[in-house]
């Protein structure tokens, strides 16, 4: 797999998950979590941007074009991040599964011989420490709750694709509507300069 391909998988994961996490702004169970999830979402989109920048150089394009100008089928994200999960226990379950897998993924990248890749992974990882803390806090608080454990087992099969590219084949029907909304402004005036 080329570096660009790997970068796109992770960048797409972070961008789409960032989008889903941002959907909680204003409707989380309480104010502190409105802020927490907004903040986490912002970080994830920031990570996506940095990853797209690196991939863009390899592919001779720009980060914006990679983030927004591909068709939904061309995104490399895992299905887990595409799901709209308007249930708190499912959202926390996904948060837990994603952070667990991402820690392993970033850990591997930090060992890479590719200095740029290793460097970026290290930078992202330092911020992810706080995401992991948040996911762990919530996991410890909810792990005895039947609704949570059910949600966890429901989503767990989808988490395998986070670390295994071969399992990333195709998307759910939820990605296209997400993409419509996410790229609506950009597509409204093609080739606009902002």
């Amino acid at each position: 797999m080329s570096r660009a391909e790997l970068l796109l998988q992770i960048a797409d994961d972070e961008l789409i998950l960032g989008w889903r996490d941002s959907e909680w702004t204003g409707i989380a169970p309480f104010l502190e979590e409105d802020v927490a999830f907004s903040s986490i979402a912002q970080n994830e989109i920031g990570h996506a941007r940095a990853l797209y920048e690196l991939a863009a150089r390899d592919l001779g394009t720009t980060a914006d074009e990679l983030a927004f100008d591909r068709a939904p089928e061309e995104y490399r994200c895992a299905q887990l991040v595409e799901l709209r999960l308007p249930s708190w226990e499912h959202t926390i379950a996904r948060h837990h599964l994603y952070e667990e897998a991402d820690a392993i993924r970033l850990g591997r990248l930090k060992q890479s011989d590719d200095a740029e890749l290793a460097g970026l992974a290290a930078k992202i990882d330092r911020e992810e420490v706080y995401h992991r803390m948040h996911a762990q806090m919530w996991f410890d608080r909810l792990e005895a709750e039947p609704r949570f454990t059910a949600a966890l087992e429901e989503l767990r099969p989808l988490s395998a694709a986070l670390l295994d590219s071969q399992l990333r084949d195709g998307h759910t029907s939820e990605l296209a509507p997400l993409w419509e909304e996410m790229t609506m402004v950009r597509r409204s005036i093609p080739a606009a300069r902002w």
């Binding site: 309480f30 502190e32 802020v35 903040s39 706080y130 806090m137 410890d140 608080r141």
Partner: protein, 102 residues
């Protein structure tokens, strides 16, 4: 069962901690995470204290039965004395103007 926590922040090392606001969280772990988020995300503080509201003891009432106004800053009629002192100084300056410094 949520609890209230008070957050104090230190602007620069060595300065006094000042009350920054409060947080709702079920336990210390959540309180610390939220405190970092609300009061530390932009590197605006060198340190934070996160304290359960129950640990803060408020005192409102102070006893002053004998009206010992000499304990207080406003105990003496300072404003009056300052006014008189300024007037005296103004007169002196007017007189001194006739004698320029060498």
């Amino acid at each position: 069962m949520t609890r209230i926590w008070e957050v104090f922040r230190q602007e620069r090392k060595g300065q006094a901690f000042q009350h920054a606001g409060s947080i709702e969280a079920p336990d210390e772990r959540f309180a610390e995470w939220y405190a970092r988020e609300q009061y530390g995300r932009r590197g605006e503080s060198t340190a934070l204290w996160v304290v359960p509201r129950e640990a803060v003891h408020e005192i409102h009432d102070f006893v002053d039965e004998l009206k010992r106004n000499y304990h207080r800053v406003d105990g003496y009629p300072l404003k009056e004395k300052l006014k008189e002192a300024r007037e005296r100084a103004a007169v002196t300056a007017k007189n001194a103007a006739h004698f320029p410094r060498s």
